[in-house]
Symmetry: C2
Subunit: 496 residues, 2 copies
Amino acid sequence: MSDRETVDPAPESDARPPPSGTEPVLPAADAPSDPPLPAVVPPVLRDDDGRLTGAFLAAVRGTIEAADAAGLAALVGDLHEADLGEIIGALDADERPLLVGLLGDAFDFSTLVELDESVRVQLIEDLPPATVAEGVRDLDSDDAVYILEDLDEAAQDAILDTFPAAERLSLERSLDFPEESAGRLMQTEFIAVAPTWTVGQVIDYCRETEDLPEDFYEIHVVDPGFRLLGTVALDRILRAKRMQAVGEIVDEDRRTARATDDREDVARIFERYNLISLPVIDDEDRLIGVITADDVVDVVMEEAEEDLRALAGVGDEEISDTVWYTTRNRFLWLLVNLFTAFLAAGVIGLFEDTIAKIVALAALAPIVAGQGGNAATQTMTVAVRAIATREVGRFNIARFVNREIMVSFLNGAAFALLVGLAVWGWYGERQLGAVIGGAMIVNLIAGGLAGVAIPLAVDKLNGDPAVISGVFVTTVTDCVGFFAVLGLATWWYGIV
Amino acid sequence: MSDRETVDPAPESDARPPPSGTEPVLPAADAPSDPPLPAVVPPVLRDDDGRLTGAFLAAVRGTIEAADAAGLAALVGDLHEADLGEIIGALDADERPLLVGLLGDAFDFSTLVELDESVRVQLIEDLPPATVAEGVRDLDSDDAVYILEDLDEAAQDAILDTFPAAERLSLERSLDFPEESAGRLMQTEFIAVAPTWTVGQVIDYCRETEDLPEDFYEIHVVDPGFRLLGTVALDRILRAKRMQAVGEIVDEDRRTARATDDREDVARIFERYNLISLPVIDDEDRLIGVITADDVVDVVMEEAEEDLRALAGVGDEEISDTVWYTTRNRFLWLLVNLFTAFLAAGVIGLFEDTIAKIVALAALAPIVAGQGGNAATQTMTVAVRAIATREVGRFNIARFVNREIMVSFLNGAAFALLVGLAVWGWYGERQLGAVIGGAMIVNLIAGGLAGVAIPLAVDKLNGDPAVISGVFVTTVTDCVGFFAVLGLATWWYGIV
């Protein structure tokens, strides 16, 4: 399958979309001097699971190695930028600028938006600055900002210097908004009209204006001071008579975002109110941009993933990051956890005499500590997500905490019984079973309390519960678990 | 703040949107026989963090207790269904049907879509069947399916029996598609025209047809057999001249979903190609529905959360689930983990003689096991997400596995050194430091291997890596960790 001559009898529609309205590309059969080539059917782009195929990648590599611009264009020229982006990510670092160079003007710089950050930054460094500046100039403002924001200031200025003054100012304003804010996410191209305009005027305006936003879903209605009065979805425009004023069909009940709002809040508004697009206003309520759902789908995914990654201690790494960066990134979290492990070891160290007398405790205590950690992680995960999605607030915090404590108690009791009986059966010592069972219920309740209280406390102190709760929670369950087992045993067996 | 007479000088725009084009509701001041009431400003709906306020909830409760239909309508009648849904979720179970009853015809059943499943099912049971049937009949097909799919067949039939035959058939067809499929997610209302239609005809059709879909973003172009030829975004319609045929401006390069596709695949297509809406086709390529981005934002969030919850062993529970359901749900995962903990305890049990001679090992071995577990969890989390997002495939699997092993080796070496020196310093025994350090690097490499190999293997066997990888991975790091520490010590100190 790694042969690009492979003839696939059923070319996938995704793999070879017919040419759309994008930039024309050089057709492969454009070399009139050569004898007619045999018809080449390129390998399929993706397998049934939606993964890139090695065969397609090998074909791309082949054209890059042969510096075969026409062959490369025939292969990837019609691809969606998301697919091309994934191919670029799968290539080696030195092949990437070659691909962009071979495609020339046919390379759409919005492809860069689809790349992992480390790949994008490296590729931009490797390309001629003039090529980058020209490519970025053709983009919508939100894509341009997305690409520029990762570059250092000198590189940003070098690109922005080649822009017309108005565009430059608009991009600089977007870049002035905080990272991960609505202002960074919005596009500044939109259509705004006065409420006195008629539907006919709007349609005529759209027909006659060359420089409309690339895609739009709503018309915005503003007052003379450019303050947002409301929006009209395009389907409302289509339904209305030509003579109707947009002021009459405007939807005034519109959510808006401030440019300084965090993008996580923006994503939550989209999710809660099922929006397709959201106007962005400045501090004086003036309309300055629009965020669309297609951009937010990515944010929603990233934000939900951020909690997952934070809980596991892998931060914002991407699979294209270097070994060295990844190692450092993970080292820190492991180091913090190591301190807490030593703390737990210190607790065990207090009871060396007990362990020397009842060696079985060395095998049994980790069961109690581990089970507490697992139960606490369940509670903590639910709490972290409930906080992140704003499902928990003062109005229901008591109900939530009660529920978690009840669940911890019930599971604690169940496992106390189960483990107590198992230990009794295994070692034939009822007293040892009682010690382990007693410690189990104590630790599961402690874990449940910690699992719900620590994320809430971290949130109260304006920290990110996903990032730091885990360390504290397992510290609690480790220390309480070991202390409960060994302390109970010491007391019950009368060891001093 | 729990007094609804509270006068808030700065009413939030979210809290009191001006009346929009939704159902008219009874204004509160509609009782002409009473003397004029003092102007009542309701409390704000949400605090600055976007959480519901207790004051608003108390005000709603007050009107429900007083059976004050007009007061309740004044308070929540203009709210977005997402906000009303959240309020219903925050009420007690017995207050919910009272609220729906008091609102009467003003209650929009699309609010039910915003509720947690357990709340929705219970509320539908508590409402008069005729009310439910009437409410569901007014909904878009995707919302109706969403509500019906959780009910048992008898309840579904009771509602569907009250529908006109055509609508009933269409809903039944949607419900026949597998759970979590594109067919369940789509709405069956859409606009499809022949390619010979002109832009003017489309606009006139929209102006003259009463029964258009509630919101739409694209016109679909189909052949006489209703096979999809492509789509035209509404902004393309607005830009085009009246006389232009839609066949000339149609975008044929369109992604589609099959009705039987998993909704996770649908979400990935939206995310990858930045779509606003996606046509759904049947096995004969006929257009049968449309999925829009606003529905997918929820799916994307749920799917990313599913992995997070699966890794933590909390499944699909919602914070509104009962204590009993939650306890059972979590118990199973804890039980599986308990077995693996006993496995690790068995490993420790093999070395009781060694521990009896060197009690410090009882404190130190858990450090090695725990650190390995944490490092393996990092690797596993990255692997699980890379598999879920299709970032890892045959084309780059070797690069990915290599990277993870290198990272594990580097962090293993770092922590071997660190912990070895710490133990030497703590106990003053170089040999003990060497044992712990050696075991550490062994366990971190084993953990890295398990963290990447197990999710890949589970995926290969068509399991869900997020659900079962965690148990296996920590089993490996626990057993290897304890075995390495105690085995090395036994061998080095010559204990037999």
